[in-house]
Symmetry: C2
Subunit: 460 residues, 2 copies
C-alpha cells in the first residue's frame, strides 16, 4: 500500500514504516506485560479481609484546543489462568507460535492497550505532530465488574472528561478472522448465585446417603429449571421486555459478512443451536441468553470422592438486551427459583442473590468517531468494517456514555478465535501490529473531521 | 469397674490400668500419625504418569498353635483435607478440645489402628502373655478403592492368611454417641462419571451464550434425572433386585437403640426424609441410595466468572445392597442417561463410565468372633452392643471374606458424630482409650472361646 513513490512519505506512511520496523520491540513489551499476573479477581479473602482495589490510571498527552481529544479506555487485569486448566503454554509467558502470540491478556486487554501506546509512541519517536490530544483511562478491575470506576468517572465528569470528544474502547473482537469490525452495542449481564444449604459440614454418602434432602439434588433441579435444550430461558416473563426485531434491523444483520461454516469451524463446535447467520447473530447480540457457569462447594477435583456436599452455590448469568430491566429480571428469577424449590418440599435452605448487574449498551453510529474509524479501517485494511454488536458485557461503555455524556466507540483489534477468558488466549502478531497502525490512522481521521467542523473553518 | 479388691488383679485388669496410665502417650502417638498427610487419593497425575501404590504391610506376632490367630485390617490413607474447606483447626495437627481429638484420620482409620497396637503393646509392656496370635494387614489405598489389595490377599490365601481364625475391621462408627455396636453388613458402591463435551476449551458466555448446547445445561439435566426430591432413584429397574424386607429383619431394626431426635440433632440436619427409626436405618443400610458428589471442569471457585465450561464431568454414586448386581446397575444407569440425553437432541458428546464398583457385604453373626466381641463390649462398656449394618462401603470386608474364606467382624470404636470424610473429623479421647481396652478384652474372649473348642479339650 505504501510502495516507493516520487513524493516524500506523509506522516502516516512514516508512522506505519516505524511500526513495521519496531514490531519486535512492541511484541517484547507485550511479553513483559503478560508476565505480570494481574489477576485481581478476588479482593475478598476467605477470612473476610478485603484487598485494596488496584489504582485507576488517568493520563493525558497534549492539550491543543485546535485538536480533538480522544480518550482511550483499557484494562490491565485478566481472568484467572492456570496451566493445568488446559493451557498448552504457561499463560503468563507470552509464546509465539505461527504468528500467534499466546498468553493471558494478550487480546483481553493488554494487547489493545499497548497498540494504542505504540501508535502514540510512533508519532513521538518520529517527532511527528500528534494529530489529537490523548487521554488514557486504565483500570484493573474490569473482569470483576469495574468496582470504583463509576464513582471516579462521575467525579471527573467536569474535570478529566470535560475536554474529551470521544472515548475509544478496544475490549472485544472482530466477528471474523480477517475482516475488521466496529461495534455499536453490547449485552448486559445479571449474575446470580443460588445457595442450597443443609449444614456447613459435608456428609459421607455412605453414612448419610438415602435419608437426606441432598443439597446437590436440590441445586441440580433448580439449575435444570432455568433453560431448555434449545437454549430458551424458562424463567416466566423473561422475554417480556425484549425489543422486537424491526425490518431495518433485519437488513443490518443480512449485510454482515459471516461465513457460518467457517465460524463454526473456528469455534471448534460441532453444531450451533441455529443454522442461519441472522439467527445466530441475533441470539448472540439482541436476545438474552442464560449460561450455567458452575457450582461452588461440591467435589470438583479429578478422582472419585464419595462426599455429599453440605452447602453448594450454583452460579449462572443472564445476558441482558434492550429493553430488559435488571430489577425486573432479578424479581422474575427469584420468584421462579422459589417456586421450583417450594415444589420440592425440601428441608434445606435456599438463598438466591443477584451478585452483579450490568446494563446493556447501544451507541449512536452517526457520531463522528464511527466515520473516522471506518476511514482508518479502509486505509489500513482496505475494506469496510462489519457493523456489529457484542454479545458480552463491557459495562464501562454504558457507564462512560451515561455519566460523561460523551460518545463511545468500540474499535476491536483481535479476531473471533482469540479465546478471551479461555485457555490458550492469543492475539495474532498481525492484528497487534496492524492494530497499532489502525489507531494511528484513526488519530489522523479524527483530526480531519474535527478541523472540518471547527466553527471558524466552516464559516470561511 | 476395677476397684480395689482382696484378690490380686488379673491380666486384663492390669492391661486396663496400663492403658489408662499411658493414655497421653497413646494420644501423642496418634498426633504423630495424623501429622503424616497420607492422602494417596490421586495416583494418576495430570501428565498421565502414575505414582507407585504405597506398600501394603503384613506383620505377625506369635504363632502359638494353642492360641487363636486374629488378623487386624486397617488403613493409614485418609480423605483429602484442607483447612480452607471449613476446618476449624489444621486437619493434620491433632488438636484436643473438650475431650475430642480433631484431625484428619483420627477416626478413619488411624485411631482404631493405633488402638489395636495399644492393646498389644500393653500386654507386651506388662510382660503378660498375649492370649492370641496377632496378624496385621495395613494398607494405604482404602480411600481409593484398595487398589492392589485383592491381588495380594489372593496370593497370600494359603500363606499369611492360612492360619488366621478371624479378621477384625474397625473402620466405621457406632450408631449412637454412647452405645457400642457390632456391624454385620455394609453397602456396596457404584461410582459413575458422566462427561458432556462440546470442546476441550471453555467459552466466554458473552461471545457464545445463546447459540450453544451448553455442556452444563446438558449435565444438569442428566444429573437432575437421577433421583427425585424424596430420595427415590429414578433409574428404571434399579429396585428390581433389592432383597425384600422380612418380618425377622423388621424385629432386628426395632431392637436397635436409636433416638431419632438426638441422631438428627447430632447430625445437624433440620429434617430427614423419614421420621421413624426403622425407615431411617433401612434407607441407610438395606436400600440403595444415590448421591451427586460434584462436577469437574466447571467454575468452582468463589466469585463470578462468566465462563461456559466446554467439557464437564458429573460425579455420582449409588450405594448397593443385597442382592443388586453391579453389572446390571451399570447397564441400567447407562441406558437411562443415554435415553435422557437423546431426548435433548444435543450436539454435544456424552460418555458415561462406572469408575468404581464395590459389592455389598453381609456377615454370619453366629460366628465365634461376634460372641467374643459381645462379651468384650459387656466387660468394657457394661452393655450389649447394637447389632447394626453400615451404609458405607468397606470393600475389603467382602474381598477378605470371599478370598480367604475366613470370618470377618467389624468392631467399631468411634461415635456417630465423628465426621469421617468431612471437615473437623475427630475421635473422642474416651473412645480411643476405651477402644484400646476393648481390643485387649476381645483377645481374651477369643482365646477363651478357642480353648473351649479345641478338640482335645472337648473330648474330655
Amino acid at each position: 500500500m505504501f510502495s516507493a513513490s516520487t513524493l516524500p512519505p506523509g506522516p502516516l506512511e512514516k508512522v506505519f514504516q516505524y511500526i513495521d520496523l519496531h514490531q519486535d520491540e512492541f511484541v517484547q513489551m507485550l511479553k513483559e506485560w503478560v508476565a505480570v499476573e494481574s489477576d485481581f479477581f478476588l479482593l475478598q479473602l476467605s477470612d473476610g479481609q478485603t484487598l485494596p482495589i488496584p489504582p485507576i490510571l488517568l493520563a493525558e498527552l497534549g492539550s491543543d484546543p485546535k485538536k480533538p481529544t480522544v480518550c482511550f479506555y483499557g484494562h490491565l487485569d485478566v481472568q484467572p489462568a492456570r496451566q493445568e486448566d488446559g493451557w498448552l503454554t504457561d499463560p503468563y509467558t507470552l509464546t509465539e507460535v505461527d504468528g500467534k502470540l499466546y498468553g493471558r491478556g494478550t487480546t483481553d486487554n493488554k494487547g489493545p492497550v499497548l497498540a494504542w501506546i505504540n501508535a502514540v509512541s510512533a508519532f513521538k519517536a518520529l517527532d511527528e505532530d500528534l494529530p489529537v490530544n490523548i487521554k488514557f483511562l486504565i483500570e484493573g478491575m474490569e473482569e470483576s465488574g469495574s468496582l470504583a470506576l463509576e464513582e471516579l468517572v462521575r467525579k471527573e465528569k467536569s474535570g478529566f472528561f470535560s475536554s474529551v470528544d470521544c472515548i475509544v474502547i478496544s475490549d472485544n473482537l472482530w466477528i471474523s478472522r480477517r475482516k475488521p469490525a466496529l461495534i455499536y452495542g453490547t449485552r448486559g449481564n445479571s449474575y446470580f448465585t443460588v445457595e442450597v444449604k443443609c449444614r456447613d459440614q459435608d456428609f459421607h454418602s455412605g453414612t448419610f446417603g438415602g435419608i437426606l434432602n441432598e443439597p446437590m439434588a436440590d441445586l441440580v433441579a433448580l439449575l435444570g429449571s432455568l433453560v431448555d435444550a434449545s437454549g430458551r430461558i424458562l424463567v416466566p416473563g423473561i422475554y417480556g421486555h425484549v425489543a422486537p426485531v424491526t425490518e431495518e434491523e433485519k437488513r443490518v444483520y443480512e449485510a454482515i459478512d459471516l461465513d457460518v461454516e467457517e465460524y463454526r469451524n473456528s469455534s471448534q463446535v460441532k453444531k450451533f443451536l441455529f443454522d442461519t447467520k441472522e439467527e445466530l447473530l441475533m441470539h448472540l447480540w439482541r436476545y438474552p441468553s442464560l449460561s450455567i457457569h458452575g457450582i461452588e462447594g461440591a467435589f470438583h477435583e479429578p478422582g472419585a470422592k464419595t462426599v455429599i456436599p453440605g452447602r453448594v452455590i450454583g452460579k449462572f448469568s443472564i445476558r441482558l438486551v434492550p429493553h430488559m430491566d435488571m430489577s425486573v429480571v432479578e424479581t422474575q428469577v427469584k420468584q421462579h427459583l422459589e417456586y421450583i424449590f417450594s415444589k420440592r418440599n425440601s428441608s434445606n435452605q435456599m438463598t438466591v442473590s443477584m451478585a452483579l448487574g450490568l446494563h446493556p449498551w447501544i451507541a449512536n453510529i452517526s457520531d463522528h468517531q464511527y466515520l473516522a474509524a471506518k476511514r482508518a479501517i479502509k486505509t489500513v485494511f482496505g475494506t469496510e468494517p462489519d457493523m456489529i454488536r457484542d454479545g458480552s458485557t463491557i459495562p464501562i461503555a454504558k457507564i462512560l456514555q451515561d455519566t460523561t455524556q460523551k460518545s463511545v466507540i468500540m474499535l476491536p483489534l483481535g479476531t473471533v478465535d482469540d479465546g478471551e477468558h479461555s485457555q490458550n488466549e492469543k492475539i495474532n502478531r498481525w492484528n497487534y501490529i496492524e492494530g497499532s497502525k489502525l489507531f494511528a490512522a484513526f488519530f489522523l481521521e479524527m483530526a480531519k473531521l474535527h478541523s472540518s467542523c471547527v466553527p471558524g473553518l466552516l464559516d470561511q
